[in-house]
């Protein structure tokens, strides 16, 4: 059973990465015309996912500083995992922003063409500094285990650990203390950097006075609180389901994390409520229109269902209700829900404020001059082949999701009653299928906004009609979805490999083990060298 799930997991990841890579090739060859971005909505799914992953990263990192700087010993077992999660999430965020560039090949020029007035430029430096701190801290934390493993493990693994240990050999208590002192120092420097990383990412939006919805002082703070909530939720999820800790220790840890996440989520909701109430009271037309789009636009469900339902209400109930708030599985599930729900928060940050034309009539002024026929960006046959691949990929993903739900049902069965959970599973599958149909725009499913068909059917997802470039409605193309899925799958795989290979969850050495390590011929030799 366990082996089967592991195999299925890697197959799903592998297939997704492969499809994502294919989509990436299409995107690289054809440029941004494979997206559904328009002149009115120039930022879409990729930018939303970029801020989402930067948020996850900063959130995880800030929680880890709680341990190493704040001295909260209780959370120590998740410290290294938090740090590694932060690293992988940062990778994902940077990949997404790279994907979004009109000229990907010029990304390196940001280090040479300077503009000190640009928040984005500052952010790039923050990301780099942050990455250095992250890697250094992680390495220091793993160093002793790496040194130890480099002698214990044989073959290529041993070589890998020897390489990663970077020739350091000292595993004495004093060296460990020195390591921890450095970790604390780095963590201390890391706090303002991580706040800069995500608060600054919020500031990218907050400094844009052209968009009233972004242009508030609270915006960067919302970024930080939601980052903390999502980072904490991700850790809760990982520890609850994938930790190798013993049941009791895991329970305490997950319970503590769950409470912390609930509190952070509460603060986040408070901030968002403040933004909404003040914006709606002020009723500046552009501002109001954004809220209108978020709450009652064609993608109302992103707000009500994804952001508020899955991302806030349900997990808050699970985390606070006395019947569920001491059960590892439920708390872990709440964490997963928040991690998913925050995607809705990010989508609603980036896209709705852009959908309203800046000057009234801008989107309709130019329509007589758009091309009459819709032009296919891809040859019909390639389009066909890609469509088969995507349908197959989608099916595999759905089957995998079903399997996961069944798996969860088995784990949960004892606590809540299986029939209810199976029913929930079926409803979830139906909803997923429904959403999938919406995503791929199966025949007969289309959406008319502003009197025109914004996206209709499958063909438009690949081959964008020219007129849609003037549209205020944005829905990502299949290529955008697939590349995103590919990048995410890639980073999940990276995380899994890292979790399997790196000493992220090792315990303190026992006296016996220390003794054995000291006696190893490899270390003895180094002491002679000294």
């Amino acid at each position: 059973m366990k082996r089967g799930i592991t195999l299925a997991y890697w197959v799903v990841l592998g297939v997704t990465i492969l499809i994502g890579a294919l989509a990436l090739v299409v995107r690289a060859l054809d440029g941004l015309k494979v997206t559904n971005l328009t002149q009115i909505v120039p930022w879409g799914l990729w930018v939303a996912l970029y801020i989402y992953f930067i948020g996850l990263s900063a959130g995880s990192f800030l929680l880890s500083t709680l341990i190493y700087v704040g001295g909260v010993k209780r959370f120590e077992p998740v410290g290294k995992i938090a740090m590694f999660t932060a690293f992988v999430a940062l990778m994902a965020g940077l990949l997404f922003i790279l994907l979004d560039l009109g000229h990907m090949e010029r990304f390196w020029t940001v280090f040479f063409n300077r503009n000190p007035n640009s928040v984005l430029e500052w952010e790039i430096h923050f990301y780099l500094l942050y990455m250095v701190i992250l890697v250094a801290e992680l390495w220091l934390l793993m160093r002793r285990d790496l040194v130890r493993w480099s002698q214990e493990k044989k073959g290529w693994l041993g070589t890998l650990y020897r390489l990663m240990a970077l020739n350091s050999r000292d595993i004495s208590e004093k060296a460990l203390q020195d390591d921890m002192r450095l970790v604390k120092l780095l963590g201390l420097i890391g706090i303002p950097v991580a706040i800069g990383v995500h608060g600054g990412t919020g500031a990218i939006f907050a400094v844009v006075k052209a968009r009233p919805y972004w242009y508030t002082g609270l915006f960067p703070l919302i970024f930080i609180t939601s980052a903390l909530a999502s980072g904490g939720a991700l850790l809760t999820f990982i520890v609850a389901f994938f930790s190798q800790l013993e049941e009791k220790a895991r329970g305490e840890l997950v319970g503590g994390l769950g409470k912390l996440v609930a509190a952070l989520l509460g603060v986040d909701l408070l901030f968002i409520a403040s933004e909404f109430l003040i914006g709606i009271y002020g009723a500046i037309p552009d501002h109001l229109a954004t809220y209108n789009t978020i709450m009652f636009g064609p993608f109302w469900w992103v707000f009500w269902i994804l952001q508020l339902g899955i991302g806030a209400a349900l997990p808050l109930i699970l985390l606070t209700h006395k019947r569920t708030n001491s059960n590892i599985t439920w708390i872990g599930l709440a964490g997963a829900m928040i991690v998913v729900g925050i995607v809705g928060v990010r989508l609603n940050i980036v896209i709705p404020p852009l959908t309203r034309p800046l000057v009234e009539g801008f989107d309709t002024a130019y329509i007589p001059f758009t091309a009459a026929a819709s032009l296919s960006a891809l040859p019909a046959t390639l389009d066909q082949i890609l469509s088969y691949i995507t349908w197959a990929g989608g099916l595999i993903l759905l089957v995998a999701l079903g399997a996961l739900i069944l798996f969860a049902a088995q784990k949960l069965g004892a606590s809540i009653g299986q029939p209810a959970f199976y029913a929930a599973g079926i409803v979830a599958v139906v909803v997923i299928v429904f959403l999938a149909i919406r995503v791929v725009g199966a025949p007969g499913v289309s959406l008319a906004v502003n009197g025109g068909t914004a996206w209709s059917g499958y063909a438009d997802m690949f081959a964008q009609t020219d007129s849609a470039r003037q549209n205020g409605l944005y829905f990502p193309t299949l290529i955008e979805w697939l590349t995103s899925a590919g990048v995410i799958a890639f980073c999940v795989a990276l995380f899994s490999i890292g979790k399997a290979l790196l000493p992220l969850e090792t315990k303190e050495l026992s006296a016996e083990e220390m003794e054995r390590a000291r006696k190893s011929p490899w270390l003895a030799r180094t002491e002679v060298n000294k």
Binding site: R106, R114, N115, S118, I124, K209, L358
Partner: protein
């Protein structure tokens, strides 16, 4: 040479919504579908029988304090010292589109690489002359993947010509000149007539004025 401050004055009483400026601009700059540095907005006001159509030609305002300029992470866009024109360096721009979100007037466009016809017809295949260089839109080369915008036809100004939209305007609704020269036509018009600019409250200081 004295610093210039190029500005455009648009007489809304003269505009007849012929869209000749839109077309002239597209021809001059060889812009792809969806990209139109200037366009004419239309609005109907009143109820029958007292109905009137109002027109508002819009283009880049070449602001005194352009919000699109400071946000660029690579400094690929700036306001020229000598004449106040806001330009984009196509070779520097990485296509992040931050400036598009920062412009309050929607004056910036992204070149997604689309064309009106496949294969390209003779006119579309010709190079654009922006900034006095030859830009061939092919194989994803710049300006494909770049942000593009109105340049006040800087390549024409260098030859002593007016911007294409000004030259083509049949009712002479568009006037172009140097606001630092008190004798220029634009300076005199702004002194004589009532004028307004778009979104003045944002403090961008637009250099496209509307007179009514």
């Amino acid at each position: 040479m004295a610093k210039k401050r190029y500005a455009m004055v648009i007489d809304l009483k003269r505009c007849v919504d012929c869209d000749a400026c839109t077309i002239a601009c597209k021809q001059e700059n060889h812009t792809p579908p969806g990209v139109a540095y200037t366009r004419v907005l239309r609005k109907e006001v009143g109820e029958y029988p007292n109905v009137r159509r109002q027109f508002l030609p819009i283009l880049c305002n070449h602001c005194e304090h352009p919000p699109c300029v400071p946000v660029c992470p690579v400094g690929a866009t700036w306001k020229r010292e000598q004449d106040g024109i806001v330009v984009v360096d196509y070779e520097k721009c990485i296509g992040c589109r931050y400036c598009m979100t920062a412009c309050p007037y929607g004056a910036r466009f992204f070149d997604f690489g689309e064309n009106y016809s496949e294969p390209l017809n003779v006119f579309e295949a010709q190079a654009s002359n922006e900034y006095g260089k030859q830009w061939n839109r092919a194989n994803g080369n710049s300006p494909i993947g770049n942000v593009r915008k109105c340049t006040f036809c800087v390549h024409r100004l260098d030859k002593g010509l007016e911007p294409a939209c000004v030259q083509t305007c049949m009712p002479k609704a568009r006037l172009f000149g140097d606001l630092n020269d008190p004798d220029s036509e634009v300076s005199r018009l702004l002194a004589e007539r009532r004028s307004f600019v778009l979104k003045e409250e944002l403090g961008t200081g637009p250099n496209v004025y509307y007179i009514t």
